[in-house]
């Protein structure tokens, strides 16, 4: 059965506070422009910014350990497939991005950690909406189709996206 769970207040308050400050404070955290979202080939329809932390068996950022370490034990991760921070710019109205699974070529679990509170969300294939609440963790079976969205009430919608076994 394809399952998901939502855990609020996942990180201890001081750990979360430091991590979110590091990522969301203006001028501190490098973000890279991406000209599509969720495998869409429609360039210039949606865009966002990301910060790759880990991919293809190696860290891709000095921020990898400081950001991901609290989740390794907290979730019980055996092997990381990919870790990255996503930042979706505010839009006039909420835009829902394409439904997808992060990796369709290997069994994995997906975690979405909400770094700031906003009116954006993750929508699962059964219609369930998981709202963006700071320090909330959504863990789902990697086979569950889902989609992200933008928000209208914060400059950026920040999430940490983890794929793991």
């Amino acid at each position: 059965m394809k399952e998901y769970k939502v855990i609020d207040n996942f990180l201890p308050e001081d750990v979360f506070s430091e991590m979110s400050r590091e990522i969301t404070s203006p001028g501190k955290f490098p973000l890279y422009y991406v000209d599509f979202i969720a495998f869409s080939k429609e360039r210039n329809k949606f865009f966002y910014f990301e910060h790759p932390l880990f991919y293809r068996s190696r860290p891709t950022s000095d921020f990898y350990l400081p950001i991901v370490e609290p989740f390794l034990e907290g979730i019980g991760i055996n092997a990381i497939i990919r870790a990255k921070v996503n930042a979706y710019p505010k839009t006039e109205s909420i835009e829902e991005h394409g439904k997808h699974v992060d990796f369709d070529n290997m069994p994995n679990d997906t975690a979405i950690f909400y770094i700031n509170t906003n009116n954006g969300f993750t929508r699962l294939e059964n219609g369930t909406v998981v709202e963006s609440v700071a320090n909330r963790l959504l863990i789902l079976d990697g086979a569950i189709y889902h989609n992200s969205s933008s928000c209208t009430d914060a400059d950026l919608r920040f999430v940490l996206n983890l794929n793991f076994i």
Partner: protein
């Protein structure tokens, strides 16, 4: 008398292509979120990448981005340089009127990295469109403002203050 000058096709094509590819290719160039545009009262956010400030290069991309511009502009003394990336908006938003540096006689250059329908407004009657590889030179005392654009994800320019 015009107190600004526009130079199109400023960099040689191959040099410009290298520079614009470096900055515009998705996933290659780090930008930093800023919630203060121009005078700080502007709505919205933009992304910046500081290259040079306080008499020192502050980015590993400094030489790759600035060397061609310094060479072709003949800059002797650089005060500040940064890459600005304004996010696409539903309608064009004009940011606050400002001079970049107050109290120091300084020249301003805006180098347009991509073409879009945003612009730099000099005054009520004069705007400079964002055309890739265009350089705008301004006397530093000229009040001006930037804008967003509606036809590209990002409006990217390099802002240079120099003597």
């Amino acid at each position: 008398m015009n107190n600004y000058k526009v130079m199109d096709n400023f960099l040689p094509e191959d040099v410009f292509k290298n520079l614009s590819d470096l900055i515009l290719t998705p996933g290659t160039f780090p930008f930093f979120y800023s919630n203060e545009i121009a005078d700080g009262d502007d709505p919205g956010i933009y992304f910046i990448h500081n290259l040079f400030a306080d008499c020192f290069p502050i980015s590993p991309y400094y030489e790759a981005v600035m060397n061609p511009l310094i060479e072709h502009m003949g800059i002797n003394t650089l005060h500040r340089s940064k890459v600005n990336a304004y996010l696409r908006t539903e309608k064009i938003v004009e940011h606050g009127r400002h001079v970049d540096v107050e109290g120091i006689p300084m020249n301003v250059a805006v180098f347009y990295v991509n073409s879009n329908n945003g612009f730099t407004r000099i005054d009520e009657n004069n705007v400079v469109s964002s055309v890739a590889n265009r350089l705008l030179l301004l006397d530093g005392s000229v009040v001006h403002n930037s804008t967003t654009c509606t036809d590209q994800d990002l409006r990217v320019s390099i802002n240079i203050n120099f003597l």
